[in-house]
Subunit: 341 residues, 4 copies
């Protein structure tokens, strides 16, 4: 089940960067929900290439075609299949990469795993483009959650190691971040960053103590997003430097008599179970490995060292486009938690 | 399946801190393996209370009793059940905590989730003591992996926010760390830290691109360990501050003609699949929430704010005892990867 | 995961009878296999409507379009998605059935389950047409198994309660069976039957003692085929009437020194594990519930009893078309067993 | 996960016939339920050896010891572990069977699967004794269901091929059945039979169209019971001989305006989803393979044919003891269906 996530709502991703298309099957989505398909498209457009600063110039409309699971505009309870066809593919760019794996990419590991049978074009099934299907599923989940007064929010907290200030553009970038991305692009290089995501409105008591906890479920989806190399909840790694008396969040009552905590170092989950406080997590996104600077690699046919220059079209920074994907992952985890027996 | 982890080797944890015992069922462990039970006991002793600096004085022999799945000292292929009986329990310490949830603990969230039916004594099933079962399973996995020349190593990289030097005692602590723990204990407080774990010897090509990748599998187990609030692989969060040209690991050949990378910022997994380099991850462990300093909390019976002083026996620092648990989690994930079809 | 089956090779079915199409996603199929797509089409044609005696005149080419998971004619290890578009749909036939559920169909139960949000046209996702996706997946599995010298065979053993003789046409029917089907069609009625399926060539030692045994895995897929109401292995229900001394299969050696059994009342599985003898099972297929004879039902809008006449196009006997679907289920279960760790 | 069943309530069975004990872990059972432990013991006693006609004289009290998941007599929501210790074991009886596999048993298949590492004593983990754990879990489920007005009933419909009349003793046997069992025992032989089970009170709309349907879920558990070789629902195999106009169940209204069917040939499930009618299924149980009549088998050490006489203690008919196990399986499937999201 390498390409499926979730327990109650199971999302299966399929597709390759340069094949006929990418998409998803969503099994278990509640019946009778009428999504706003314009809002779905708008959400998916945030991930689509060609817009955000640092994005690849490859432009794709990325409009999903619904193949199953909807009738008269409503979900039917049957598996929902969405297909996003690939249009603007240029496979020629990638022909040489079979023998010379790109550093930081899955070219080599996929080659070993599949005995060379993998689709090498544009990363194949390991391409970030496959997250378009995750975004479609996440867009449905976000709308469903909104009807239950659960909101998913996110912001970019760092680009290239520098904290992002409050004054951001619609891509979540401040001036310094845009400058860092531009500088990297000019150098044929790339930068990474950190995305913080918040799930507001989940009631207390969802999740489980051990392996089906809030953190496990979110992490198991989020680590499916290419380029994610770390996840932390609440005070996270910084919290491990605090004393218990500082990191513990005192319980208080809010105005309505509800139990809250004064601070939220626990990030909304205690013992794997929601506390009623916002679920807060941060995701480390590595600098996109596709850079045009020449790099050392090996030629697995000749057995000799060599250098490659990756031509193609690249993102100098994937973080703005990864933001909606992180939100989608959070929404799917939250929906899954809400639907627990 | 909140208390089960794994796909090929499924480990189910059971038990409570103050019930008859804790333990595990291991389903899918390869048949015909003869574990060294003394080595199992020695591994479990690393997690057992009462020894490491900062550990609770609660002493438990923690010797597992095998209830099933072994015959003539060998694994039979049937589910292996181990029971670690609880002996040294003092439930009286916890009687007041039902109505006044401890900050940073799962008392409140479990209460809400179960409608008050949870076992409140010592955290019940959410107690760190439940990881004794995980350690038993991990000990078997470590031995099995060793026979395949896969080794699990770990070290404490930080305590209370300070890096731990190379000169460590058998608990992985240097002088400053021990001092920080002692200071916290004297103050009735606690400290956290970071554990780094390395899996050496896994061949390239294990894992999967999306949701069953190396990172997902490790994270989904590791976040089942109480007090873990963050996981990062390779360069992790720090890597998100680097440029691609720095963070990318150039491929090279080693002396035997094998493909390696010059650096290991990717932490042994590219696209969710092992690269043949060591799998490296770090785990953020929060300061143990059980502190004797008075804390603010709420009385959920009277609806009033109050303060609590947690008497009982506590760990001023759980990190040394958490180390073998992290190793166990890593071993189980590695074994699971090795057994993939 | 209602629409997914399998453990190592997970097949997810999607689609509706009168939506854009039906299909499947196959996750975990071995990489590097080159299927014969003509043979796939020929296999799927056996299930396609319009050919076998008793089949609906709805004609569909049923040619699958591969959306993912193949490259240069080979499987890549990534999820394989196949879409069979619906062309020849006449939804008008079904407009009245929302309020008057057809006896023997899922109209009523789906209506209750989904709160009326299900796609009622032609049974929606519960239509037998959805098994086209299962047949595609099964066709790949059959070819893969053939390369491992595992063969799937089947025959119709009974139609309308009468045993089918050896002299059968290409649809597995003898003269009496064809006559029974014709008679039912003339009466606007339908007949059912029994399909026997044999998996030859599986080595001994596959499967598991309890819930992942040969029988469990086959049954869990076969009961996903609409109209299947019973499954038995080996001597099955008849065997429950025998004495142990008769039903037990004595072990013998074959000419090559291999262990075999003299008889095969156990149907190839002992304790859930293959014995090396052919796996034999029989499937009871109910008479297709779509008949044109007027039937009693209820009007769930008016709350009154009523009668319905189902116009549309129907199969007077689904058994010949169900045969390849049973073979597909057997092949997928066999492949799954072979890929166990 | 060979020893686990269920989706919302996951039951993991462990133990061997001649090891320390057998038992189960139940993960996901609703919190806050107070089972009547005397009723649990009474239910388990129906399966325990030494009482029913045809039962082995091996007597076991079979009282479960609760190791986890209960507190103050209530379920806590944490995994419930029950251990039934083995007391009356005589392993000496089985020493010769490693090299001479018993016909109809799993001795040979387990030997092949595990490379000879399986526990051969009394069938090891494949022994019917392991169903004691299933009965414990089923007993809890039955009580929980009773509180929701869902009842599980069963009867023996055939012994040794003869229908069982209404006049039965407390073991579900009529005079002819007892005579058939006695005759088999005198001959050192055994007989099988058929158990019918009915789940009453499930609301309409539970289950799923394809692989998580009512039939799939029941079958996947029931085929985990040793000796089960067939399962049919409603009219089952006999229904495949009927015409659609006869087998279809007309919908009607009951006195309260609820939708029912006039007959119940569908056995309570249409398209995998409950119809509100009783769920009815029958299970074929083979004659117990342990007979004392000499049988042909092979000596896998010498490679020669031989004969064995199984001494030990055997059931001449397992059917009366299998009845509660079938009920347990039905109850667990029903509970699982009720807890679906």
């Amino acid at each position: 089940m390498s390409s499926s996530c979730g327990r109650n709502v199971v999302v299966t991703l399929f597709g390759e960067s340069h094949g006929p298309g990418v998409g998803c099957v969503i099994d278990g989505f509640p019946a009778g929900f009428t999504p706003d398909m314009d809002a779905v498209a708008a959400f998916m457009a945030r991930r689509a290439p060609g817009k955000a600063p640092g994005s690849t110039p490859r432009a794709e409309a990325d409009l999903p075609r619904i193949l199953s699971g909807m009738h008269d505009g409503r979900t039917t309870g049957a598996p929902i299949t969405a297909l996003i066809e690939n249009i603007n593919t240029r496979s020629g760019d990638y022909s040489d990469l079979v023998r010379k794996p790109r550093p930081g990419h899955a070219d080599y590991t996929l080659h070993v795993k599949t005995g060379g049978a993998n689709d090498p074009r544009g990363g194949g099934h390991s391409s970030g483009r496959v997250t378009a299907g995750l975004c479609f599923a996440g867009a449905l989940a976000i709308q469903y959650l909104a009807a239950k007064e659960v909101a998913i929010k996110s912001r970019i907290t760092a680009i290239a190691g520098s904290a992002v200030s409050c004054k951001t553009d619609k891509y979540g970038l401040d001036e310094a971040a845009r400058a860092a991305i531009d500088a990297a692009r000019r150098d044929g290089d790339s930068v990474g960053g950190v995305v913080e995501c918040v799930i507001e409105g989940l009631p207390a008591g969802l999740g489980d103590p051990m392996f089906d906890g809030v953190e496990n479920r979110i992490a198991s989806i989020v680590f499916g997003i290419p380029a994610v190399k770390g996840v932390e909840f609440g005070s996270g790694f910084a919290g491990s430097a605090l004393r218990g008396s500082v990191n513990n969040d005192p319980f208080i009552f809010n105005d309505l008599g509800g139990v809250r905590t004064r601070t939220n170092n626990h990030g909304g989950a205690l013992g794997g179970i929601t506390s009623g406080m916002p679920v807060v997590f941060r995701v480390a996104i590595k600098p996109t490995p596709s850079i045009s600077i020449p790099q050392d690699t090996v030629d697995i046919q000749t057995g000799k060292c060599c250098r490659i220059e990756i031509k193609g079209r690249h993102d100098a920074c994937i973080v703005p486009r990864a933001r909606p994907v992180v939100e989608a992952a959070a929404a799917l985890a939250a929906l899954d938690l809400l639907l627990d027996p």
